[in-house]
């Protein structure tokens, strides 16, 4: 097996390199001292990072992105968690259908959602407001919350709740003292994911954009469509660093592997399934 392992190893590391290349390239290119973007960068300097404050529109967009992300993330969690609870813990007619329904926005081309939302919100008169962005993002974030909380719930041994009930706990107590703590990682993961997805979204935000409601990714996108001077590489680098920081925080508190099912389930009963 030795020989095969190193072939796999070499191939894999080459692919990982491929995956990381664009990000690394941007980070390095942002350190250029020249007037234009090139790789390798001409000279090393932080001038373009210092240039950012002189373009307040980027900072404005960052702020809007953050606000919308946090609000959508929170709302998505508040909506998705009870839905996941209903879908996993109960059996009723239409359950499969509803499950699919909640997950369906992820199957749709983002462009379709963008177009549809633009048309609808214009009719509803709420375009050009952050509210439109939040509503639009809810459509693509709630599915993640439902999926992650469902996975967490499904991995939990249902007889734990029954044990609590037989020991004298009311359904509410059983939920808050037994289910919720065990499902917390899924809820937190869902919230984190929803926030990040909202923050990163371009497709929907692009259609709903207006001068006052341009999120950072959208501003970057429109900027790049015309020119790509080093300023935008600096902005992108900051975005990468910000996301990296968020990922580290999530990894420390919850652990990404567990979220995506490549690690074992948390309870022995679930593991023996």
């Amino acid at each position: 097996m030795r020989g095969r392992l190193s072939f796999l190893g070499v191939w894999s590391w080459a692919v990982y390199g491929f995956v990381l290349a664009p990000i690394v390239v941007i980070l390095l290119a942002s350190l250029t001292a020249a007037e234009y973007t090139s790789f390798p960068p001409q000279g090393l300097s932080l001038r373009w990072y210092l240039e950012i404050p002189r373009h307040p529109e980027f900072l404005e967009s960052l702020w809007i992105s953050l606000v919308v992300a946090v609000v959508s993330g929170t709302l998505a969690t508040a909506l998705g968690t009870p839905a996941a609870l209903a879908l996993v813990r109960y059996r009723f007619r239409g359950r499969e259908l509803l499950n699919g329904f909640f997950l369906s926005p992820l199957m749709l081309p983002a462009v379709i959602l963008g177009v549809a939302l633009l048309q609808f919100y214009t009719r509803a008169g709420i375009t050009r407001t952050p509210l439109a962005l939040v509503c639009g993002h809810l459509v693509i974030t709630v599915p993640y919350v439902v999926r992650l909380v469902s996975a967490s719930l499904a991995g939990m041994d249902p007889s734990l709740e029954r044990a609590a009930l037989i020991l004298g706990a009311t359904p509410w107590k059983a939920f808050t003292r037994v289910t919720l703590p065990l499902v917390a990682p899924g809820v937190i993961a869902g919230a984190a994911f929803a926030t990040i997805v909202s923050f990163d979204d371009v497709s929907i935000a692009l259609f709903l954009a207006s001068p006052k409601t341009t999120t950072l990714p959208v501003r970057i996108f429109t900027y790049i469509e015309q020119t790509f001077d080093p300023l935008v590489t600096a902005v992108c680098s900051l975005l990468v660093l910000l996301t990296a920081a968020a990922v580290i925080v999530i990894e420390r508190s919850v652990g990404l592997g567990r979220l995506f099912g490549t690690e074992e389930a948390a309870t022995p009963a679930a593991r023996s399934r």
Binding site: M1, L8, S12, V15, F18, V19, L20, P22, V25, I26, A29, T37, S38, F39, L79, P82, A83, A86, L87, R89, Y90, R95, F102, M107, P109, A110, V111, I112, L113, V115, A116, L118, Q119, F120, R123, C135, L138, V142, E161, P171, D200, V202, L206, F207, P217, I220, F221, I224, F228, C236, L239, T243, A246, E251, G255, L256, G257, F260, T262, E263
Partner: protein
């Protein structure tokens, strides 16, 4: 915990909100696609299939449809070829190493598509990594035109969606009973035979799921083809964007969006059908 009303109580608000934000706009869009563009009012009533006819009757637009399909299929194949060994490598690793590798596979998904695709602009651009290296090595004197080509789009799509393929396959590999692998070995299969005859077939659900995800995402991708293909190499989603935002022809834009949706849905159905009848259908039950 089994009173019949409870799930509906829990679902009431999420369903209402979600329905309003999701179903209504789509229904509205469907309606719009059946209307006619009017420069002053935006869209006028009178349901007609003109927009669809306009699209399906024009070879230019059909060409774009064909290209979108082609690029999605190519991206799927490339991610499969690149991603399978990576998934296998991940599957074989254990402990901390596995945790780090999983993180490496997942982390890119959390960085905005714009940033990731932009990176390719820097790599493939006239002053980018590739051209600078080739020029520096004296291989070329004029920069190669690598951007705004179909290959650039396939490259970008592969990059963006690779993680999905890897995770899908790795999960399927994890579900294979190790005893079955040992059974193959004791029956005389060397590592290569074991892989080809046992592991690969049993990992097909992961390959199928991954392919499906990558294909549908590639069909619908917008940012990556927009940045790497530009207005010159259009795909369906860019067309919808162009018509809706740049030309304000909402009815036509809506129709294009629905054609894209229909195409994606049909492809998925055909694919699933083929799986059901195929040689390894037993693996999928």
């Amino acid at each position: 915990m089994s009173r019949p009303a409870t799930p509906w109580l829990l679902l009431a608000v999420p369903l209402a909100v979600f329905g309003a934000l999701f179903v209504l706009p789509l229904a509205n869009m469907l309606l719009l696609s059946l209307q006619t563009f009017d420069r002053t009012t935006g869209a006028t009533g009178g349901l007609t299939l003109n927009n669809y006819g306009k699209f399906l009757g024009d070879p230019f637009y059909l060409g774009i449809l064909g290209r979108t399909l082609k690029l999605a299929a190519l991206a799927t194949c490339v991610t499969l070829v690149l991603g399978y060994p990576v998934a296998f490598h991940l599957h074989l690793s254990t402990g901390r190493r596995r945790a780090y590798l999983t993180l490496l596979v997942l982390a890119p998904l959390l960085i905005s598509v714009v940033v990731r695709s932009f990176g390719w602009l820097v790599i493939l651009g006239p002053n980018g990594l590739v051209n600078s290296t080739l020029r520096g090595a004296g291989v070329i004197s004029e920069p190669l035109r690598l951007l705004y080509t179909e290959s650039a789009i396939v490259l970008g799509l592969t990059h963006v969606f690779l993680s999905f393929m890897v995770l899908s396959i790795a999960t399927a590999l994890g579900r294979i009973d190790p005893a079955v692998v040992r059974a193959a070995q004791i029956l005389g299969a060397n590592p290569v035979q074991t892989f080809l005859r046992v592991i690969l077939p049993l990992s097909l659900p992961g390959v199928a799921a991954g392919s499906l995800i990558v294909f549908t995402l590639s069909m619908s991708a917008f940012i990556t083809p927009a940045l790497l293909g530009g207005p010159r190499v259009k795909v369906m989603s860019y067309l919808a964007y162009q018509q809706t935002l740049l030309l304000s022809d909402w009815p036509y834009g809506s129709a294009i969006a629905f054609v894209l949706l229909a195409l994606t849905a049909v492809s998925v159905l055909l694919y699933l059908r083929a799986l059901e009848r195929g040689r390894f259908r037993m693996v999928f039950r």
